[in-house]
């Protein structure tokens, strides 16, 4: 006999937002009353390049179902070049995650400026929908089958 739960899957999504563009973009989305799912938990970082690849792995290990990194558009970084480095790092990390067989749709990078409240809410809606279709993340928490 099993206890069947009828709970709807609510994904946990972590969004790293850079302080200068995307966090302000999220603010704008809020003040313009644009809806985005409450599953998105925003973590403010000084710059997108502050995000160490380990942050992303750690988020997955702690039970996140999707991780999205938002930063200023390339060329618009508050610190001039931070997001260029972030872009290279994330490309390699995502490719590695794909290589070890973790669905690559669970990670994403999006450039959102402070004026793009609409883009922020759209991106988040899309991303949450995508994670909904992928379901719960089990693989990244279990890479060495030692849980």
């Amino acid at each position: 006999m099993s206890i069947e739960t009828n709970e709807e899957f609510r994904p946990k999504i972590v969004a790293f937002c850079c302080n200068w563009c995307s966090y302000a973009g999220a603010d704008l989305a809020g003040s313009s009353r644009l809806a985005y799912p409450a599953d998105v938990k925003i973590i403010r970082v000084p710059c997108s390049c502050r995000v160490n690849p380990m942050f992303i792995l750690r988020a997955f290990e702690k039970g996140a179902d999707g991780v999205i990194l938002c930063g200023c558009h390339p060329g618009d970084c508050h610190y001039s070049t931070g997001n260029f480095y972030a872009r290279r790092r994330m490309t390699l990390l995502f490719s590695m995650l794909d290589y070890i067989g973790v669905e690559n749709g669970r990670t994403r990078v999006e450039w959102v400026s402070a004026a793009e409240g609409v883009k922020f809410s759209q991106t988040m809606n899309e991303f949450v929908e995508k994670i909904h279709s992928l379901g719960k993340n089990v693989r990244l928490g279990d890479l060495r089958c030692k849980n």
């Binding site: 380990m54 872009r87 995502f94 690559n104």
Partner: protein, 324 residues
């Protein structure tokens, strides 16, 4: 080998170098170990043969802090690591007298054991003198011969070439032993489905005992303070610090050396569990070559590493999903 010993003796006696970094015989005929020789008479223990796979570049980080010059024996592929360490200001070129030693491929005793060779008493044909065609093992069950190439280390099948990248003098002949495609294995895994990939890596990585050998041997892993060391206890380095690092160890380790890894293959060579760790490093190298242009770490000492560089037109991370 005698030429190498004579030269080392000469340098030690003239006082030009304070010590020699090479290999000495181990307790078995096939496990020579890295060693320092400070006196000319100690050199009687010096060996150099096909089993001397160890990359001595990493020892130069410590040797650079010692008084006087060190004569170091580097094989062609080791010189890439040395160059990379110069670039990162981890070794002092002035403190090293680099003798480029000849290399005709290094041997993997595990491969011989897999071929059913047991009870080895002595080995002949591993001296780097002639053509290195066959290897003869004297075992307690009799004599056994195998083709040299069949027991060569994986990294030697994708040899980077016989040219030393940095040296003061060269002793001995080298041979390019490349006979396989460098990224063939990586491509094979890339072609698998996500389930197959995951199952493959899970089965490989679950063998890991976290002995940290791959980290300790890696010339690129030269941080004084490593994220994998416990902050609380010095003695607890080998215990897993927490479950996160335990699980993600291999991905993080590979990422930390991405763009700096010369693909020297030491990680796979020393792994007591035989995990093909080079597959992680090579994936990063392949991606870097594809996305940011061909790059071989350690080829020079002044170019910028791919992860400390950028261009405005770099590919977006979404390429990973788009290329399927």
């Amino acid at each position: 080998m005698q030429e190498l010993i004579n030269r080392a003796k000469e340098l030690l006696e003239s006082g030009e170098v304070a010590r020699v970094l090479g290999w000495k015989a181990g307790d078995l005929p096939y496990n020579p170990e890295p060693a320092y020789f400070e006196k000319a008479e100690d050199l009687k223990d010096f060996v150099y043969n096909g089993f001397c796979g160890a990359n001595l570049s990493k020892y130069m980080i410590e040797a650079s802090k010692l008084e006087g010059k060190t004569m170091v024996c580097l094989k062609p592929c080791d010189t890439y690591s040395f160059n990379q360490l110069i670039k990162e200001h981890r070794v002092d070129r002035e403190k090293a007298y680099i003798v480029g030693v000849g290399c005709k491929g290094k041997l993997d005793i595990e491969k011989a054991k897999k071929l059913g060779i047991k009870g080895i008493e002595s080995v002949s044909g591993a001296e780097m003198t002639d053509d290195c065609d066959t290897l003869t093992f004297q075992t307690i069950y009799g004599e056994k011969s195998v083709a040299y190439a069949d027991v060569m280390l994986e990294r030697c099948h994708v040899c980077k070439g016989k040219e030393h990248q940095v040296y003061d003098e060269i002793i001995g002949e080298s041979k390019d032993t490349k006979d396989a495609e460098r990224f063939a294995e990586v491509e094979k895994i890339e072609a698998m489905s996500p389930e197959e990939k995951f199952a493959y890596f899970q089965s490989e990585l679950s063998k890991c005992i976290r002995c940290n050998a791959c980290r300790n041997v890696c010339p690129a892993c030269s941080c004084r303070k490593c994220v994998f060391d416990s902050t609380k206890f010095d003695s607890a380095q080998k215990a897993n610090v927490d479950s996160f690092e335990e699980k993600m160890f291999h991905v993080i380790r590979a990422f930390h050396v991405a763009g700096r890894c010369t693909d020297c293959g030491e990680c796979s060579r020393v792994c007591p569990q035989g995990i093909p760790l080079h597959l992680f490093n090579r994936k990063f190298i392949k991606d870097i070559n594809e996305f940011y242009g061909e790059y071989q770490a350690g080829e020079d000492t002044d170019s910028r590493a791919p992860l400390t560089n950028y261009t405005f037109e770099d590919v977006e991370p979404s390429i990973v999903t788009e290329r399927g």
